[in-house]
């Protein structure tokens, strides 16, 4: 009997409303278009992600090198054109006027050398995402040093270096002839390796990439060690500056630690597994995530208590030094967790969803989490329309004279409208999943996601997200449903929750990064507006807004969010029935 009335409501009430039908169709179209647009937009973006995009249409001339035309989208376009201009201006418009004519000659010689170098680079590293670009820039650094040491005996070199070469002249002056020759040999070797990267043979170029990067790390470690020795001597001479010097030494030790335990192993891992940077592979994304979080993990160390006490910022943000320590520990474990996920994913040879943004999993998860706002607005509209519509149209007088108690009539209205609001969202999620599968391949759905406790099915995460989203939808729906019965006015019951939604998001953004007092801090986790979007709770990143809040001691959590929403939903629903049952139909 009750089900008959539910069906009656769905068929003749809800789906007779053009408005609901139109929104449902929009939802469906959205869920189909989302993966398709995602794919199309991604292909487009890869081509214009950097550089070129911003200068397109500015009418800059292309440069021709050995018959190859270099446009503004080439990563070295600006170096080449500005060097070319610099060279012409030395001879024609008197730049570097304070240089002697022989020094000018030397300068032109150097600039031409650099120009040739970039022209060579521009021919092979044609887009910003090419891994050669990074090495090419490092190489230019070797280039100027090599030039300097090669021309050390030239009387004009000092003038040129002062103007154009980033060389610590005071330091090189102290070096012995032997040391200089040694440095020159080493740098020339590195420069040669850099030049070897300028080949379209990716394998050969990758070999050079590994070599150069390793060299850079090793040089850095060597330099830091030297600097630490120097600082140690200085410390003996100036014990009064011990706090400052020790902190410098500690900083360098950490850098060495990162180079040795993170960067060098990364290079070896790339070498062993042939993971080419920026090649768009998930392995590369996983490795980058691992490196980044390992670095963050190493650099995130708590300040000493004295330092904490002398920083008003830290004092304001944390209740106590121990709270501060806990927060740092939390951030570190967050970073650590991400490292473990990346590592597990690489070890298993299957990507975690987060490393494969163009996979069915990531796209369908992105839809279910990203379009919740639209679903909220839709639920609010359906919930508001449901009862208030009857009052505004006057049909309530014909509806409530039937042999059904008001509780039954309201329950049928409630369930039919709620199941529509939720059902359309879920249906669009399922359609989106299917279309994602078609566009990006169904196989990806079988890949597990990685957690600290081991691999887990994608669906356990996906359905957890959907379930949490349903709590949000139920809350917004029930509040509008309550307003609909209480105010009997559609517009009012739509506007109030939507203003609440927008206002809540503003409040959320306001509090996310703001210093707040202890009372607010303990209240915040029970405020519904902290949970208008649950996406953040499914990301581990300590950088996310939620990660930031948790690390500042605002203990928001998924469980609290769902509980708060369901509690509000229950109260709103109870009040709806109470009001509807009692009221006289005066309209």
């Amino acid at each position: 009997m009750f089900f008959a009335q539910y069906k009656n409501e769905i068929r003749r009430s809800i789906f007779s409303s053009a408005f609901i039908v139109v929104i449902s169709i929009i939802f469906l179209v959205l869920s189909i278009a989302h993966p398709i647009l995602f794919r199309w937009n991604n292909t487009r973006n890869i081509n214009r992600r950097y550089g070129g995009y911003y200068y397109s249409g500015m009418g800059v001339d292309t440069i021709s090198i050995d018959g190859i035309s270099i446009g503004y989208d080439n990563p070295f376009y600006w170096e080449i054109s500005s060097l070319t201009e610099e060279i012409t201006r030395i001879t024609t418009s008197g730049d570097y006027a304070d240089l002697s004519s022989s020094a000018k000659e030397l300068m032109i010689k150097y600039l031409n050398l650099e120009l040739d170098y970039y022209r060579e680079a521009a021919k092979v590293a044609t887009d910003y995402m090419d891994f050669r670009v990074q090495i090419a820039y490092s190489g230019s650094n070797f280039l100027n040093k090599v030039f300097y040491y090669e021309h050390f005996s030239d009387p004009d070199i000092e003038a040129v270096a002062k103007q154009r070469l980033p060389i610590d002249l005071a330091q090189t002056a102290k070096m012995t002839e032997e040391e200089r020759m040694e440095e020159l040999a080493e740098l020339s070797g590195a420069l040669e390796d850099c030049r070897k990267i300028f080949t379209s043979d990716t394998n050969a170029a990758f070999g050079s990439y590994i070599k150069v990067r390793r060299y850079i790390e090793q040089v850095s470690i060597r330099d830091w060690n030297k600097e630490i020795d120097r600082l140690a001597e200085e410390l003996i001479k100036n014990p009064g500056r011990s706090v400052e010097i020790e902190s410098q030494i500690n900083g360098m030790r950490t850098s060495i630690e990162v180079a040795e335990t993170v960067n060098l192993p990364e290079i070896s891992y790339r070498e062993a597994n042939k993971i080419i940077p920026n090649d768009g592979s998930w392995q590369n994304a996983a490795l980058e995530s691992m490196v980044q979080n390992q670095q963050s993990f190493t650099y995130t160390v708590p300040a000493k208590e004295a330092e904490y006490l002398s920083s008003p910022y830290m004092m304001e943000n944390f209740d106590s030094y121990s709270a501060y320590l806990r927060s740092i520990e939390r951030q570190r474990s967050g970073f650590h967790e991400l490292v473990l996920i990346a590592k597990a994913s690489l070890d298993a040879g299957t990507p975690d969803m987060s490393f494969d943004r163009m996979g069915s999993r990531a796209v369908s998860f992105g839809y279910a989490s990203g379009w919740i706002g639209f679903a909220i607005i839709f639920s609010v509209m359906v919930g508001s329309w449901s009862v208030a519509n009857e009052f505004q149209a006057g049909t309530i007088r014909l509806l409530l004279v039937r042999p059904k108690t008001r509780n039954k009539i309201l329950a049928a209205k409630y369930l039919s409208a709620l199941s529509t609001a939720i059902g359309i969202f879920l249906a669009s999620c399922i359609v989106n999943m299917l279309v994602s599968g078609i566009v990006f391949g169904f196989a990806d759905f079988g890949n597990p996601n990685f957690t600290v406790t081991g691999p887990a099915s994608f669906f356990s995460k996906y359905f957890a997200l959907l379930a949490a989203n349903l709590a949000i939808l139920a809350m917004f729906f029930n509040v509008s449903f309550f307003l609909s019965t209480a105010t009997k006015n559609i517009a009012a019951s739509i506007v109030v929750p939507i203003v609440g939604y927008i206002g809540g998001n503003i409040l959320n953004a306001y509090f996310a990064y703001r210093t707040i007092n202890a009372t607010l801090k303990s209240l915040m986790p029970y405020m519904p507006f902290m949970y208008f979007n649950f996406t953040g709770f499914f990301e581990t990143s300590p950088y996310s807004a939620i990660g930031q809040m948790v690390s500042r001691g605002i203990e928001v959590s998924l469980a609290k969010g769902v509980t708060v929403h369901l509690a509000i939903a229950a109260v709103a629903l109870g009040l709806s029935f109470l009001i509807f049952n009692k009221q006289d139909i005066t309209s």
Partner: protein, 328 residues
Amino acid sequence: MFMVHFTCWALLGKFIVMWKKATMELLKIEGVTKRIKKKTIIDNINMQINEGEIVGFLGPNGAGKTTTIKMVVGLFSITSGEIYICGHSIKTDYESAMANVGSIIENPDLYKRLTGRGNLEYFAAMHSPEAMENIGSVAQLVHMEGHLDEKLKTFSLGMRQRIGVAQALLHMPRLLVLDEPTNGLDPKGIKELRDLLKSLAKNSNVGVLVSSHLLSEMELLADRYYIIDKGVIVEEISVDDINSGGEHTKEFHLETDDNGAAAKKLTDLGFEAQVAEDGLSVICLVSRDDVPRAISGLVSGGVGIFSAVQGKESLEEKYINITKDSEI
């Protein structure tokens, strides 16, 4: 146009079968009071309607007709007292009570986005399964069968009223409650509605409660009246009382050769009598049974009588008296 056509006989037959299961009392209102925010709107009223009876519910605007009817159909709560429909208390046995009543309260506002049929189906689905099957025949009864599949928003007011009547009949209720049903109907529509209600009452034993603030609309329809004013039932009167008399007093206008003497003589005989304002007649309040006694008293007193006519119906007199200080 509400005339019962041959094609509708089948339906009427069904109505008869359903409604013949006799209960005398279809509606019983017992000591009902309605207070809204401490203001007493209906004060301890009693009413009842039997099978086959059309009862007019008369009263000036604001008297409490709609309030009473809304309590009967469950739109208003009852502050105190009891209402029974076919013996079912609407307080304790709501669904059974409601299954026996069809109603139109004020304007029948229907769903504009649905067709005529869609509207009827939506309401029918809330009744027994037969209600859904009755849609076609009820539509014929109100002559809307040709328009059922048109959207309601294209209907004229008259057409909407017909669908309004149809929705009240879908489940073949034993009691019909109509609140000012003639609002917005043209004279032809009023006559059709009147014919339909009479036919339902006569052929199918349906009890009908019709409210109105205009007596003229009721005169040809109702068998009995309740007159309400300021939330109180001030009079219950039946057409039989009016027409065939009995002990109820009525106004008689007597033209005599000496109106002053006639008035005095009648007063001496114990009747209420006075000379009319224009002085041309004597007005006497007398029950039908007492008319011969009054006339012979006058004759024996030597008063010459030219004519004796029953004055305007005392119902209208009463209604006008009641409503003279209320706006109609």
